[in-house]
């Protein structure tokens, strides 16, 4: 799947997550995952939004996000060197004999078995979307009982800045995208 990844910095105020979610719903933007948490700045939260590029026009999403008063900055990091991570906990049916096979797979994926019960184990895996999906697909035939995932988080390498598709969308202050200017 061709993915678009947006990083949004938002004011950490009550209801901001609701505003973003409501925007996606009413504009009919389908998202793959949305992760939100604290950022390096107090009072600013950071969201990573993953979307299927074939379904959603990322420029429209960006422009609409800027309409939300609490959204400070939006960058499209899809086509920039970045680190993305997804964390999953996977509960797999496992009797004593199957544990060894699971342990094997887990090792290959540099994942961890974090809980062992009589009939199941919990596997923790961290990595890119592809890696997490690959492990899940291999575990499925054994009987996956539960999956929980954080959704993707992303950070650009070095001092990179993502693309701002609409220069000036949030006032002219945001329009001076140095990377874009150099091109």
């Amino acid at each position: 799947m061709n993915q678009n990844l947006l990083i949004a910095k938002v004011e950490n105020k009550p209801g901001v997550l609701n505003r973003v979610a409501s925007l996606f719903r009413r504009r009919n933007f389908n998202i793959e995952s949305l992760n939100v948490g604290h950022s390096e700045t107090p009072d600013v939260s950071r969201m990573t939004i993953a979307m299927d590029a074939s379904q959603v026009d990322v420029k429209l999403v960006e422009a609409n996000l800027y309409k939300l008063v609490n959204v400070i900055d939006v960058q499209d990091v899809s086509n920039h060197p970045n680190i993305t991570r997804d964390l999953a906990l996977i509960k797999v049916t496992a009797n004593a004999e199957q544990r060894a096979e699971i342990a094997n797979l887990v090792q290959l994926f540099r994942a961890k078995v974090v809980d062992v019960a009589a009939g199941s184990v919990i596997v923790e895996v961290t990595g890119t979307l592809d890696k997490v999906e690959a492990l899940i697909n291999l575990l499925r035939p054994m009987g996956v009982k539960e999956i929980v995932r954080t959704g993707q988080i992303a950070m650009l390498r070095g001092d990179g800045i993502g693309t701002r598709h609409t220069p000036g969308a949030n006032g002219n202050k945001q329009s001076n995208n140095k990377e874009e200017e150099r091109k």
């Binding site: 209801g15 026009d57 609409n64 609490n70 949030n170 329009s175």
Partner: protein, 567 residues
């Protein structure tokens, strides 16, 4: 200095220049109503909160200021919703203030508690929930700034009752703290140059002038641009008045009920210059066939409108007045005589032609009534409308020369908008006579505001275009549902008696020769007057682009029997 939340609230409202608010009291907002006695603000008591929101809207659209509506919690607030949605769709700057239950009860389903910020989230530009008195000053300032700046829109402030009565230190905030809100101003120079090149190269350009022209106060810039480049100007419904109707370059209203020559010009253009409009489906018709050979330049303050419905070649995100001001220094004088002559050839079955060929058959035609109102008011009144046939006829037959004269619900198409928005407009211009043209259907949705008009002595002249049908729906039933008139015939009350019950002078008009005396009666009688025009029942708004058809594929005005009047 220590003050109560409610006092701080009014102190800040007065500093924002608020002189009048439209509202309805109730438990959760009583402290605010109580405190207003100390302040020079007039409270207009409406009869339904929807009226309050529409009045604030009408006030905002005609005053250039922010309109204010107030309601209590729960049902008071939800009654505002239609009015807020209307303001949102038409980018009208209003601030709605609602009471909320005390903060400690929030989430507990207390009496008259509803999640008003949740309910209004998708239909406000922004909203706030205030739980502490010390938040009020900042929020009021931010609310007015957000409502008025950038692409304007409604902002709602929900104030908990305890925040209204708590005392706190009051210091007026000099600075706004809105790190995520900086409306765009000027488009990049490189893009302006690309636009100027396209304009220079165009042989068949058309300007699409929208509400943004009025909101950005860019009438002079638009006129300069159009005259210098000799580019014809088509207007959206809400853009009417942004360019004088009588100007030789004016093409009038575009879209579903625009004139054929206007739509045909758009379809045959090689360049569309969209100035502060958003390519609504009512102005584009079928998108696949919309202006197929035209390059498109889109000047728009809201980046989310760019490429939303129609992909454009050069987007210019910024304030229209600023962008046009700069563009006007870059463009060369143009000569587009051939193009203008070609458009003139398409001016066949126009409004004017229609006026000249009305049959002199003793019937009362809606279009004729509205034409007479236009003539008798010298085309210079603020006219508000409801939604439906009469609205389109007003747009077609009342020739708007100046901006902020037509007040109508465009995007939302809200029935019941006419009367309350006219009352709101009167508070913006208490020395003027305001007209509202309404249908017999929509009028009944907010007719309770007759009482408000009477109580306030609002100089509002109500012209009910009474065809005993929900006319626009009936028209669609005639065209597209084989005349199956389901749920459209109206058995109306006697509007004259109804008005008289409110102490509002009224007159019924059933004959063509009664029209002028009735209009004169309305103009000479101070305060609100209602005229009940019993018009032809099955008139049709022509021309019309059927929903989903190409813009030029219009149902045209039929040829009418010629009368001596036409010779």
């Amino acid at each position: 200095m220590k003050k109560k939340g409610a006092q701080i609230f009014w102190e800040c409202m007065v500093r924002e220049g608020v002189e009048v608010v439209f509202g309805y009291p109730g438990g959760a907002i009583m402290p605010i109503h109580d405190a207003m006695l100390e302040f020079p603000v007039h409270h207009v008591l409406v009869r339904h909160e929807q009226g309050a929101a529409h009045m604030a809207d009408g006030y905002a659209r005609t005053s250039g200021k922010v309109g204010v509506a107030m309601a209590t919690s729960g049902p008071g607030a939800t009654n505002l919703v239609t009015g807020i949605g209307t303001a949102m769709m038409d980018s009208s700057p209003i601030v709605c203030v609602t009471g909320q239950v005390a903060s400690e009860f929030i989430g507990g389903d207390a009496f008259q508690e509803m999640d008003v910020t949740g309910i209004t989230l998708p239909i406000t530009k922004h909203n706030f929930l205030i739980t502490r008195a010390d938040e009020i000053a900042d929020v009021v300032r931010e609310a007015f700034y957000i409502a008025k700046s950038g692409r304007p829109g409604p902002v709602l402030i929900d104030i908990c009752k305890d925040a209204q009565v708590t005392e706190t230190d009051f210091e007026y905030p000099e600075e706004l703290s809105l790190p995520g809100y900086t409306p765009p101003v000027q488009a990049p120079t490189a893009d302006l140059q690309r636009a100027a090149e396209l304009i220079e190269a165009a042989e068949r350009p058309v300007i699409l002038a929208g509400h943004g022209v009025l909101m950005s106060d860019a009438m002079d810039e638009l006129r300069f641009f159009a005259e210098k480049t000799q580019t014809p100007v088509a207007m959206t419904l809400l853009g009417l008045g942004g360019f004088p109707a009588s100007h030789t370059l004016s093409l009038g209203m575009m879209g579903m009920h625009g004139e054929f020559y206007c739509n045909n010009a758009i379809q045959n253009a090689d360049l569309l210059l969209a100035f502060g409009m958003r390519f609504d489906d009512r102005v584009t018709g079928k998108l696949d066939t919309y202006a197929p050979n035209a390059k498109k330049v889109h000047v728009e303050i809201d980046p989310s409108e760019v490429h939303k419905n129609v992909a454009v070649d050069v987007p210019l995100v910024g304030d229209l007045k600023t962008v046009l001001g700069e563009l006007n220094t870059m463009i060369e004088p143009g000569d587009r005589e051939e193009w203008i002559e070609e458009i003139a050839k398409w001016r066949i079955d126009t409004v004017k032609h229609d006026i000249l060929s009305w049959p002199n058959d003793g019937q009362l035609y809606s279009t004729s009534v509205i034409n007479h109102i236009w003539e008798e008011t010298k085309g210079d009144r603020i006219v508000t409308t409801d939604v439906g046939q009469h609205q389109m006829w007003t747009a077609q037959y009342y020739q708007f020369e100046r901006p902020h004269r037509l007040v109508t619900s465009g995007g939302a198409g809200t029935m019941g908008f006419g009367l309350p928005s006219a009352i709101g407009a009167w508070f913006a211009h208490p020395d003027k006579e305001i007209w509202t043209v309404v249908g017999d259907g929509g009028f009944q949705m907010t007719q309770a505001e007759l009482a408000t008009a009477m109580q306030e002595g609002a100089n509002v002249k109500i012209a009910v275009i009474n065809n005993h049908f929900l006319g626009m729906v009936r028209q669609w039933q005639e065209f597209f549902f084989e005349k199956r008139y389901v749920a459209t015939p109206l058995h109306n009350p006697d509007f004259v008696k109804l008005a008289q019950a409110y102490d509002v002078p009224a007159r019924r008009v059933t004959e063509p020769d009664e029209v002028l005396p009735a209009i004169e009666f309305a103009q000479k009688t101070p305060g609100p007057v209602l005229l009940d025009f019993w018009v032809e029942k099955e008139e049709i708004v022509y021309p019309m682009v059927p929903s989903g058809a190409a813009l030029h594929d219009m149902l045209r005005r039929p040829e009418k029997p010629k009368t001596p009047l036409a010779e």
